[in-house]
């Protein structure tokens, strides 16, 4: 084992101190630095999206539309959705944690195409800048779904520029996906067979598949929308001879799989966290790995469940409902397997585990409420109400964002070489869990009562639940702000992490923290299956130390 090398390499040159100029960051080809560039970019967009969310929850404290004008409110909720989905959730885990961890996990020096990787960050920044320009020049008021003919003909907002921005940003997604697929196929270390891969890698692979196959469709769709808007080419508007429902088919053909772009990587993170924090091989490794692929494939066949009330044919609706239940099964399998992994484990309650448990709770609720919405006769009532809003926040925030934060806390020692305050980490995870449920649980009831989404003003009988939701959101905000401070604090004052602070398996923990630019000072060779904790040297040492102290006690006794 190369553990001797690891400890000698502490304090040596690493990817962070290898070069410190601005140029060395902006022109870096190192996947770890590119991951950090993405981290800064998406943190900015998350903060921006959070400000929009705050404005929405403040407006909805009272039934009257008194804080914002209707034009303003419509722009705010649209920008909240667009920012969070296209500029935070979709790139979050793949582009930050995937970029950082994937080559390390494979025992590779970098991704397959380092220049393409840097290019995808620049494309993302160009798309993001255009979106900022869109916001500063008046914003958009179409909802993140861009339904025509409102978006193509009637809206007086910056739809075309926003469309171009999403078109451009899509390419960064496609390039990242392509890069990951090739990397996983060609750059695995000797001995690292497909079924020895960490489950995070399987999840990233499934995600990359969706990115490469799905993203071109949204690109075409927004382009067609921009053509109709600027050149009056009739594609979607019936007055120009188009079909508005066609847009919804095309939009959801991407945007439903996009939900899996957000959730699959998060599931991958959770598999890593639960395995490490329970020191157990994930129960039913093969089932969990293949369920990721099954979700990626089935995910492309269920888009019509967003359209049960749009006058698509009744029988089409039935087929989409049926397949939607089919896609629920692999998600259920994963949940059962994670729970079973805890059985007879050695459970630690470090911060990443708290996030993993929060994920398990919120994802279960998010998934279960999906069963309500896939049920045709019930969806007719619940469609376009707050029930839907609550459901997809449970999936996208409760699961995808929690997974991202859990992963960030898990790999933070590897990324920075420092530990954060464990107490603050646990407290913030619990605050997020409580605040999240307080925010979105009332929205299920609101939806069932018939409160439509995207309403600036609403009938007074809904106020109590809206006030509860806004109160919860303020708690949630505290939970999201806390990590910014203690993680920043850890950079300077945090305890040194060492190579493997969680005593985890996986190649990324066999190199120093932070890793050197070339990742490994030796060529790692894999001789074990994934998650074999009895071979982790740190655990062996701890066990030997315990045995010795027990022997001493026996001698003394």
């Amino acid at each position: 084992m190369a553990s001797e090398d690891i400890y000698k390499s502490e304090g040596r040159r690493n990817y962070l101190n290898a070069a410190t100029t601005v140029k060395s960051w902006l022109l870096t080809l190192d996947h770890k630095r590119i991951g950090l560039l993405y981290l800064f970019a998406i943190s900015f967009f998350f903060a921006l999206g959070g400000i929009y969310a705050t404005l929405i929850r403040l407006e909805l404290v009272t039934p009257e539309g008194d804080l914002l004008t209707p034009e303003m409110y419509n722009r705010v909720f649209t920008m909240h959705g667009v920012t969070m989905i296209f500029f935070f959730l979709i790139p979050s885990i793949p582009a930050v944690l995937g970029n950082f961890c994937l080559p390390l996990m494979l025992g590779a020096k970098d991704v397959a195409f380092p220049r393409l990787n840097l290019m995808s960050w620049y494309i993302f920044m160009i798309g993001g800048s255009l979106m900022l320009y869109t916001m500063l020049s008046g914003g958009i008021d179409t909802g993140w779904t861009f339904y025509p003919p409102y978006s193509s003909i009637y809206s007086n907002s910056q739809v075309t520029i926003a469309g171009v921005s999403i078109f451009i940003t899509g390419f960064s997604s496609i390039l990242t996906g392509l890069n990951f697929m090739v990397t996983i196929h060609t750059m695995r270390a000797p001995g690292l067979t497909w079924f020895r891969l960490p489950l995070f890698v399987w999840a990233q692979y499934a995600t990359a598949l969706i990115m490469v196959l799905g993203t071109p469709v949204i690109a075409i769709t927004v382009l067609a929308l921009a053509f109709e808007r600027t050149l009056q080419i009739g594609i979607f508007d019936p007055k120009l001879g188009g079909d508005p429902i066609l847009f919804q088919h095309m939009f959801w053909f991407y945007s439903h799989p996009a939900v899996y772009i957000m959730i699959l990587p998060s599931m991958g993170v959770i598999s890593e966290l639960i395995a490490t924090m329970t020191r157990k091989r994930i129960f039913g490794y093969n089932f969990v790995a293949f369920s990721s692929l099954a979700i990626a494939v089935f995910g492309f066949l269920v888009w019509g469940h967003h359209m049960f009330t749009t006058s698509q044919s009744m029988y089409t609706g039935m087929i989409f409902s049926l397949i939607s239940y089919a896609v629920a099964i692999p998600s259920a399998i994963k949940t059962f397997n994670w729970t079973a992994t805890i059985y007879k484990g050695s459970v630690s309650f470090d911060t990443p585990m708290i996030y993993a448990l929060a994920f398990l709770g919120l994802f279960t609720i998010g998934g279960m409420t999906g069963l309500f919405l896939a049920a045709l006769g019930l969806d007719v009532h619940l469609q376009d109400t707050y029930f839907v809003v609550a459901h997809f926040h449970y999936v996208m925030v409760g699961s995808a964002v929690i997974g991202f934060l859990g992963g960030l806390h898990y790999w933070w020692p590897k990324i920075t070489g420092r530990m954060y305050s464990e107490a603050l980490g646990r407290i913030s995870a619990i605050i997020i869990f409580v605040g999240f449920n307080l925010t979105f649980m009332p929205q299920f009831i609101l939806g069932q009562l018939g409160m439509p989404r995207r309403y600036h003003a609403y009938p007074p009988e809904f106020q109590v639940l809206h006030v509860l939701s806004s109160a919860g959101a303020s708690i949630l905000a505290i939970g999201f702000i806390m990590p910014v401070f203690y993680l920043a604090w850890s950079l300077k004052y945090g305890e040194k992490a060492g190579a493997n602070p969680w005593m985890a398996t996986g190649l990324e923990w066999q190199t120093s923290s932070p890793p050197p630019t070339e990742n490994f000072t030796y060529q790692p060779v894999v001789t074990h299956e994934a998650y074999e904790f009895e071979h982790v040297p740190e655990i062996k040492q701890a066990r030997e130390a315990e045995l010795q102290s027990a022997q001493i006690r026996m001698v003394e006794g």
Binding site: T310, K344, G377, L378
Partner: protein
Amino acid sequence: MNPFLIQIPLFPEQASSFAFEVDLFYLFLFALTGFFTVLIGVAAVYFLIKYRRRSRGEVPEQIEGHLKLEITWTVIPFVISMFIFAWGAKLYYQMYTPPTDALEIFVTGKQWMWRAQHPDGQREINELHVPLGRRVKLTMTSEDVIHSYFIPAFRTKTDVVPGRYTTSWFTPTKTGTYHLFCAEYCGTQHSGMIGKVIVMDYPDYQAWLRNVPRDKSPAEAGGQLFTSLACSNCHLENNTGRGPSLQNLFGKDVKLANGATVKADEAYLRESILNPGAKTVAGYTNDMPTFQGLVTEEQVAMIIQYIKSIGPRQGAAAPAAAVPATQGVGRPAAPQAAKPAAPQVEQQKQD
């Protein structure tokens, strides 16, 4: 009163024949998913406490997996979900299969108001008066963007889409005033595109109909449009004009120039008015100009009502058509189309 003291209800009022079953379905799913959520939760908490780490060097015994267990928790959720699917599909089928004997109301959505027109020409804006216990069918379209006609108390919702007709139907079972919401985001005043649905006893509804100052019936108005837009110049009786005759057309099959056959329903007539070249009748060439932009959706609906009124008499129409042939021109009592026995039947179901 302090709003915080108001009890929070969990369901909107049940005011249509669908409401009870939808709520029952909701409660069933709540119980089912609640059971499994608690099951996972209890198992997880129990494992977490029982198997908490007791020493830093602890390595638990490894378990590879368990095939029988995996199959069990794949098959059980699958079987349950197929049952949910079937119940949902059955309800959906009922909701989107309008009866042929319903009272027909024509609804137009327009930024940001709802207009409704009753069979005899009574119109209302942002309100919908419907009689208790009668089946009511809404035929809807939009003048501009996509809207959605949502009545929470009825548990019904159908998008209102420009360029096509969509339908919604229900049987009101409880008198009262209920919310009407636009559920599909439609622009600046989306949250102002709301109204009231008023369910009245049948005699009250009739009295209401009499008191509303009414225009000509849609069929009469459509007849006038038929002349003023010069449709009548070409669509002569007995196929002697440049266009096919529209007498006795509604509900029948039409042979097209391309060899296909299409039923002359509302959607076909609407398309032929706005896009005449789309489905040319066999034996004719398309010389007709489009009326896109020249007529509003309401006017199109009136012309269709006129064509219906000169169509086959009620009962003679092909019964397969979802749309019944409606009342003749200017006949006074609107809801004659609804079978008088209908209310009792519906109420028995409710009891």
